[in-house]
């Protein structure tokens, strides 16, 4: 094992560059996924005939597939039917497909957790269905959704490492490039990479726990 060689300044900056891509991809994905999840979750909560059932099937199918398969699919299979994109977009598309299914379940159970009395009270004070949803149910539900969404973001940050299979230049990919130079770099590099993931994810999990306690 060669810790000194593995932790050369050029390697450290190279890893940080990779981590920056990881963070960017994760952040973009979670924002896009959340926007889609709000729509999907609300439609499912609203129990609109046909649409709700259809979405339920789609969400259930996506949730039960490995993310890795979805990444392969967006990058290697979609071009076959004429949809071509670069690594960055393919990775984000795959993550968004997977995460919006996951997040829509969080949105739906958040909406469901709002007491029935709230809806009845809102409706009896003359608000219509959409107003009730927008002004009464969603604001309360959103606050309860924050801790599970932070947890999901932690999963997402970890899952971006899977994009190494399409050579997206994120943290894991950069670690592998360094490892390719010398076999003695492998363990030191992976340990450092583990610490990098750990610091960010642990900080997020502490935030999530705080929020949970505050709302409990």
């Amino acid at each position: 094992m060669d810790f000194i060689g593995a932790y050369a300044p050029s390697h450290l900056t190279f890893l940080l560059e990779g981590f920056w891509v990881t963070l960017q991809v994760a952040f973009l994905s979670i924002v896009l996924s959340f926007a889609i999840a709000i729509i999907v979750g609300t439609l499912r909560y609203g129990q609109i005939p046909v649409i709700s059932q259809l979405l339920a099937v789609v969400v259930e199918l996506i949730r039960n597939l490995p993310l890795l398969l979805i990444i392969f699919f967006t990058y290697f299979a979609l071009p076959e039917i004429g949809i071509k994109m670069d690594k960055f977009n393919a990775a984000i598309l795959a993550l968004v497909i997977f995460e919006s299914a996951m997040l829509s379940e969080i949105v739906r159970s958040g909406l469901k957790s709002v007491e029935k009395g709230q809806i009845e009270a809102a409706r009896s004070s003359g608000l219509n269905y959409v107003q009730t949803l927008w002004h009464v149910v969603l604001p309360q539900a959103l606050r309860r959704m924050v801790p599970p969404i932070v947890s999901q973001f932690i999963s997402l940050l970890k899952d971006t490492s899977l994009a190494v299979v399409i050579a997206l230049p994120e943290l894991m990919n950069h670690a592998q490039i360094i490892n390719g130079r010398n076999v003695n770099f492998v363990i030191p590099t992976f340990l450092l990479v583990a610490v990098m993931y750990f610091i960010v994810n642990y900080a997020l999990s502490v935030v999530s726990k705080r929020l949970e306690n505050r709302h409990a």
Partner: protein, 217 residues
């Protein structure tokens, strides 16, 4: 639509991959259940150093990617002279990773049993171990079953990382067949269907159990 001839032409490879995915998932499930139970006991045992050890394991492993753990087993160990088969390295990685989540599930189940139960058992003269064995664990197991089902679903999906290290699983053979035939779209759809054969029934069962146990309470 999907060209199914690719499935029939490579039936043996798909089946071998499917079998290995199932094998890796089951082995890792048993392994991580044993390891996870030990860690859960560490976390709640009335001994500070054990608590720290258990907490350190859970927090560290939960916050790093599974792929990194699998790479450490597959690429890291050879650097110190230990060479593992890809399938073994992958399954070990899955076990170490999943154990952290299972430990948390079990701990939450144990702590869901009201403290009065422990107090009553201890005052009637049972030791700590006996209290665990006869009073707490039988009650905790009911709370733990649905989330354990979810962990198994995750395990089946996560086992696809074996494909990255040539672990002879479904994902690996899917890649192999698509690289061989240049048919990617259909092959990945078929691979997806194979995964769903494992995960969908489990997911329905977990949903049913959750509703059933919620009614009982």
């Amino acid at each position: 639509m999907i060209d199914m001839s690719i499935l029939f032409d490579h039936w043996d490879l798909f089946l071998q991959g499917f079998g290995n995915t199932l094998k890796a998932s089951l082995l890792a499930l048993v392994g991580s259940f044993v390891l996870g139970t030990i860690i859960a006991i560490f976390r709640i045992a009335p001994m500070r150093p054990l608590n720290w050890l258990g907490t350190a394991y859970v927090e560290f492993i939960r916050n790093i990617p599974l792929l990194l753990i699998v790479f450490l087993f597959f690429l890291g160990l050879p650097a110190v002279g230990v060479r593992l088969e890809p399938f073994v390295a992958g399954t070990l990685g899955l076990t170490v990773y999943t154990a952290a989540f299972i430990a948390e599930t079990i701990r939450a189940g144990i702590q869901a049993v009201p403290i009065g139960q422990t107090e009553a058992a201890r005052s009637s003269g049972l030791t700590y171990i006996e209290t665990m064995r006869y009073i707490i664990l039988p009650q905790a197991i009911k709370v733990v079953i649905p989330p354990m089902g979810n962990q198994f679903i995750n395990l089946v999906k996560n086992s696809s990382v074996l494909g990255v290290i040539a672990g002879l699983d479904l994902m690996y053979f899917g890649d192999l067949i698509s690289a061989d035939t240049f048919v990617t779209f259909d092959v990945y759809i078929i691979v997806g269907i194979f995964y769903l054969i494992l995960t969908l029934p489990l997911s329905l069962l977990v949903g049913y159990l959750e509703r059933y146990l919620a009614k009982g309470r």
